[in-house]
Structures are given as structure tokens and as C-alpha cells.
């Protein structure tokens, strides 16, 4: 052995750090760097969606289901959903976007995921701070409770990473599955309680709705902004359990299929 492997642990840690750092820089230069778009879209996607929802619903209804501001209602709904959706999209394409770089033996599919997740969390943090900061100037919220907001964000992101990681493998194995996934997930936007409250949904549809973990995540996130809103239907054990399960399942799957992922589809 050459001497550069003398201290395996600190060496491995240092190497992991420099590879992650290199991949983050690489992601930032291509996704957010060169052309218009990039970071702009990370902000514009939620801003436009919330704007459109506000415009439509304030035309057909007089008050939102909670509070008086449509914008705040849709922002709290959509952002929780967006954290999950954008994370899962970003993670599921992490390996393909870095495929050429897997030609370096020191770069593993895992590294591409780690880099994307770190960048995604940082991006979401900035987007949320900007969005709710601006929103506060227009519609001051009465009292924020950071605990449910933070908890809901963590669960949304963990779910996104887990689902995205599993999808890296499934998408790699089957083109058909990728298509079907896209179609099946399209209505997720409609049934996640973004522009209505689950309390207003009649039996038995409410019970069906409760199977969708995003309904719980959105409710939990919202309860942090509306001090009077209890969101009693939120079942913490269900979403925390599911988030942990999907995270472990997705990452183990990637780990097991490491060799397969390095080969072309």
C-alpha cells in the first residue's frame, strides 16, 4: 500500500468531503450558474403557482378556508407540497445528470445523491425565507410556530429523498415505470389539500384522502402559520414512520444496485 492510505478513516472522510464539494460546485455551475433560469426557476415555480391559484380562487370564492388571505393559504399549502415534489424530482435525476462523472472510480452514485440533497435543502431554505419574508410584508401572520413548520419541512424533504432515491433505481430499470409514475403522480397536486382543507371533504372520501401522506404534511405545515388551526387529522406516527421507511428503503436500494446503476440503461 502506498502511504496515502495510511489513516483510512480520516482519509476516507476527507475524500468524501472533497468529492461532495466537487459535485456541489458542478451542480451549481450547470443548474444555477450559466444561463437565466436556474435559481430563478426555483423561486419562480412556487411564486407563479401561488399567484395563479390566488387569482383563480379569489375570483370564484370570497374567503379562503382559513384566515383572510388567499395568498397565505395557498403559499402554506403549495410550499409544503413543493418541498416534497422538487426534492423527489431532483434526487431521481441525480445519477443520470452525473452519469459521465461515474467514469471516475472514486465517484459513486451515492455521492451524486448526497450533493443534490445538500444543494436542494440549501435552495429550499433560501426560497422559503425569501417567499415568506416577502409575504410577511404583504400579509403579516399573527404568530409563527416554528416547530410544526420545521417538522413538516423535514418530513417533506425526507419523503422526497426516499422516493427520489428509489426512483433512481426503478427509472433505471424500466422506462415504462418512469412514464407511469409521471402520469399517476400528476393528480397528487389536486389531492394533497393545497387549495382545500381535508375537514371540508365528506365521508368516505376524507378517509381515502388520509392515506396520502402529503395531506398530513401540508396540514402540519399550515398549522404553524395559523395559530387557531389545529389540523387534528395529522397523524404524526404515520408520516414520520413513512418518511423514515422511504428514506431507508430508497438509500438501501441505491446501495444494493450500485453496480447496476453504473451500467448504461
Amino acid at each position: 500500500m502506498t502511504q496515502r492510505y495510511s489513516d483510512p478513516f480520516s482519509r476516507a472522510f476527507k475524500r468524501q468531503f472533497s468529492i461532495t464539494f466537487a459535485l456541489i460546485v458542478r451542480e451549481m455551475t450547470t443548474r444555477y450558474g450559466t444561463k437565466f433560469g436556474g435559481y430563478m426557476w426555483a423561486v419562480l415555480d412556487p411564486v407563479l403557482t401561488i399567484g395563479i391559484l390566488t387569482a383563480i380562487f379569489s375570483a370564484i370564492a370570497r374567503t379562503p378556508p382559513l384566515g383572510r388571505s388567499f395568498t397565505l393559504f395557498f403559499a402554506t399549502g403549495y410550499i409544503a407540497f413543493y418541498m416534497y415534489r422538487s426534492t423527489s424530482d431532483q434526487v431521481s435525476s441525480a445519477v443520470d445528470a452525473n452519469r459521465a462523472l461515474l467514469n471516475y472510480p472514486v465517484v459513486r452514485p451515492y455521492d451524486a445523491i448526497i450533493a443534490r440533497v445538500i444543494l436542494q435543502i440549501a435552495t429550499l431554505f433560501v426560497v422559503n425565507a425569501m417567499l415568506f419574508g416577502c409575504l410577511y410584508l404583504v400579509v403579516p401572520f399573527e404568530k409563527l410556530r416554528l416547530e410544526p413548520i420545521f417538522l413538516a419541512s423535514t418530513i417533506a424533504i425526507a419523503l422526497g429523498v426516499g422516493v427520489g432515491a428509489a426512483n433512481i433505481v426503478w427509472f433505471h430499470l424500466s422506462q415504462t415505470y418512469a412514464q407511469i409514475w409521471g402520469i399517476v403522480n400528476r393528480p397528487a397536486f389536486l389531492v394533497s389539500g393545497i387549495f382545500f382543507l381535508p375537514e371540508s371533504v365528506p365521508h368516505p372520501f376524507k378517509e381515502y384522502l388520509m392515506w396520502n401522506p402529503l395531506v398530513h404534511v401540508v396540514g402540519l405545515f399550515r398549522s404553524g402559520f395559523y395559530p387557531t388551526y389545529r389540523a387534528a387529522y395529522v397523524e404524526m406516527s404515520y408520516i414520520v414512520g413513512l418518511a423514515i421507511f422511504s428514506l431507508v428503503f430508497g438509500l438501501v436500494l441505491v446501495w444494493m444496485m450500485d453496480a447496476k446503476l453504473r451500467e448504461p440503461k
Partner: protein
């Protein structure tokens, strides 16, 4: 030293199983530059990737007690949206090399001019090969895995490659895939013939070339 321990690699193609290597146990000693010869589709490039570690064997183990380069080939190890220079920085970072120093070295070596600061997807295959060659030469490896890449470039660039390779050969070894017999004789002292999943090692490259010629005549 690189050791292959009962290594098997097979692919399934439309229900048919193809073996690249079949239960191969073999040690590649240091101090020899090796030419890897075999017919088209025998799996030479795949074997290089196995040695590099970018693909995993179906069964068996590969032990690497050396610092091995990435496979230098046409398939490209560059991100197309990044510029040549950004790709070089990336490689410097993942191998823990001084970034600015490597960037300067490759700029000087690859002679890409202004294209160095253009996205790699606008490069010709020759330009990509020069970039790949420059990057790997800028980093010190014990083994350089070279996949046909020396065939590219004009005469001046080839001269340059030869010169830097000769310098590297004092400390490092090359494992080279090539169909060009003169190139193999020039760079390699030993040879391996890959045929039907079996590796045959020859301490003298001439013997390997001869066996390959026999193989080709046979089928």
C-alpha cells in the same frame, strides 16, 4: 499490484449470456506496462473498467494496492455542460489535487486554446481525448488505463504524448488497449490476450501479438 480473484463478469443480452471474463485469477505485477489485446467485442474496454472499478464484477474480487487512473477513452468522463476548464477543476477536486496547478498544466498540455473555456459538448472527439489525456497525465497514478486514446491527435500531439509517457514510465505502469501493433510494441513490454473470457499473460508483448494473430486466423 492489482489482483483479480476468481473474477467473473457476464452480461445477459436477449436471453444469451456472454462472458467477458470467466473465473479469472490473475495478478498484474508492478513494473510492467501491459498491452491488452483481443478481437472486437471481446470485452477489453469492459476489463479496463473492471480494473478501474467503474463497473463491478458479477462475482469474485478485485484487489487494488495501487493508485489507478480512470479509464482514458473516447466514451468520455466529462460533463458536457461544463467547460473543459471546469471539468479539470472537478477532477482535481475529487483526486485531492491542487486545482489551479492542474488547470494550468492541462491548458498547456492539451492545447485547446479558447475551446478550453467552452462547454465540452461542443468538442470534437479528438479534443475530448486530448483533454482526458492531459488531465490524467497531470495527476500521478501508479497505473494509467488507456483505451485506444493514443490514436487521436496530430503528429505533434502524438510526439508530446510519447514524451510525457516516457517520463511517466519511470514511476508508473500503463495498461493499454489497442489494435495498433506498433503502438503496443512501443509502450508495452508485456501483453495479455483476452479471448472467450480467458486471460493469457505473456511476459513478452511479441508473443501476445503472435497469439492474437493466430486467434484471428482461426476464426
Amino acid at each position: 499490484m492489482i489482483r483479480l480473484d476468481h473474477v467473473t463478469k457476464r452480461f445477459k443480452l436477449k436471453g444469451e449470456t456472454r462472458y467477458i471474463v470467466r473465473d479469472v485469477t490473475f495478478t498484474i505485477p508492478r513494473g510492467n506496462s501491459i498491452g491488452l489485446i483481443g478481437r472486437n467485442g471481446a470485452g477489453k474496454s469492459t476489463l479496463l473498467k473492471l480494473i478501474a472499478g467503474t463497473i463491478k464484477p458479477t462475482s469474485g474480487k478485485i484487489l487494488r494496492h495501487a493508485n489507478i487512473s480512470f479509464p482514458l477513452g473516447f466514451s468520455g468522463s466529462f460533463n458536457g455542460s461544463l467547460t473543459g476548464e471546469q471539468n479539470v477543476r472537478f477532477v482535481a477536486r475529487i483526486y485531492g489535487h491542487d486545482t489551479d496547478q492542474l488547470v494550468d498544466y492541462v491548458q498547456d498540455f492539451a492545447e485547446l486554446g479558447r475551446s478550453y473555456y467552452m462547454p465540452v459538448k461542443t468538442y470534437s472527439s479528438g479534443m475530448k481525448a486530448r483533454l482526458a489525456f492531459g488531465v490524467s497525465m497531470g495527476i500521478d497514478f501508479d497505473y494509467y488505463l488507456v483505451d485506444e486514446i493514443t490514436a487521436v491527435g496530430d503528429t505533434n500531439f502524438k510526439k508530446k504524448c510519447k514524451k510525457v509517457f516516457q517520463e511517466k514510465l519511470h514511476k508508473s505502469d500503463i495498461i493499454m488497449v489497442s489494435h495498433a501493433v506498433p503502438t503496443l510494441r512501443e509502450y508495452c513490454s508485456a501483453g495479455i490476450v483476452l479471448e472467450d473470457g480467458v486471460l493469457t499473460y505473456f511476459p513478452d508483448i511479441s508473443d501476445a501479438v503472435e497469439m492474437h494473430a493466430n486467434n484471428m486466423a482461426r476464426r
